[in-house]
């Protein structure tokens, strides 16, 4: 199972209670991983409103997470 580093920002950081964590997961895509974390930490944002970045670049929700990936979930941006 891949070991990943995850950074949280904004509403996700507040709801998770930490800005960063490392974990080992059976999930292989950002979308699956978000659903796992969402149910564990009661994130209010549904998966379809969160984008993912891996190793500093935006990726598709069904991209494969590489070993050691630095994953960031991107809540809706400020816009305006």
């Amino acid at each position: 199972m891949p070991k990943l580093s995850i950074q949280y920002f904004a509403i996700l950081r507040e709801q998770r209670g930490v800005a960063q964590e490392t974990l080992t997961t059976a999930q292989t895509t950002p979308e699956q991983l978000y659903e796992e974390l969402r149910s564990r930490h009661h994130f209010t944002l549904p998966a379809d409103r969160v984008r993912a970045a891996v190793n500093g670049e935006f990726v598709a929700p069904d991209a494969v997470l590489p070993e050691g990936a630095e994953v960031v979930f991107i809540p809706p941006v400020a816009g305006g």
């Binding site: 904004a10 509403i11 409103r49 670049e57 935006f58 991107i74 941006v77 400020a78 305006g80």
Partner: protein, 152 residues
């Protein structure tokens, strides 16, 4: 030039000076200021938070797009992060070009794309005491948190 993020106050005079070029006849600069209201609510202060490396790389990509789409001499952009107060300069975009049409168009393109694409989040603090992350409310938040709901 690159798009940068900064936790220090933005200096628009120095930024604009860097756009000067003898072939440039027009300069358009956009400043985004923290204003005292949003969607009918009195705003006291803001926090801006960003995923800095991706915001800077995506912002620089937007500048490259503007250079490719419009006839410009120089482009630049800066977004501030951290705790801001009413009237503070939150974001600055500047474009210099030979003629003004492309300067207006490129400046507007850059700020529109930056607002839509950069991983930057804004938490508003209201006069009511409530606060919220803009665009992150979901149905039921009002009941759950007693914070004002934001329509989408």
């Amino acid at each position: 030039m690159n798009f940068t993020l900064t936790s220090a106050p933005i200096d628009p005079v120095a930024l604009q000076r860097d756009l000067t070029h003898s072939s440039a006849g027009a300069c358009v600069a956009f400043e985004g200021w923290v204003r005292d209201h949003n969607e009918g609510q009195a705003v006291l202060a803001l926090d801006y938070e960003a995923f800095v490396p991706l915001a800077e790389s995506e912002g620089s990509r937007i500048l490259d797009e503007a250079r490719a789409k419009f006839q410009v001499v120089a482009v630049a952009g800066v977004h501030r992060v951290g705790a801001l107060r009413i009237g503070d300069l939150a974001v600055w975009v500047g474009v210099a070009s030979a003629h003004r049409g492309s300067a207006f168009d490129a400046c507007r393109y850059i700020i529109d794309e930056a607002k839509a694409r950069l991983p930057i989040w804004k938490k508003e603090h209201y006069a009511t005491g409530a606060s919220q992350w803009i665009n992150c409310a979901v149905r039921g938040d009002y009941v759950a948190s007693n914070e004002p709901e934001k329509p989408h």
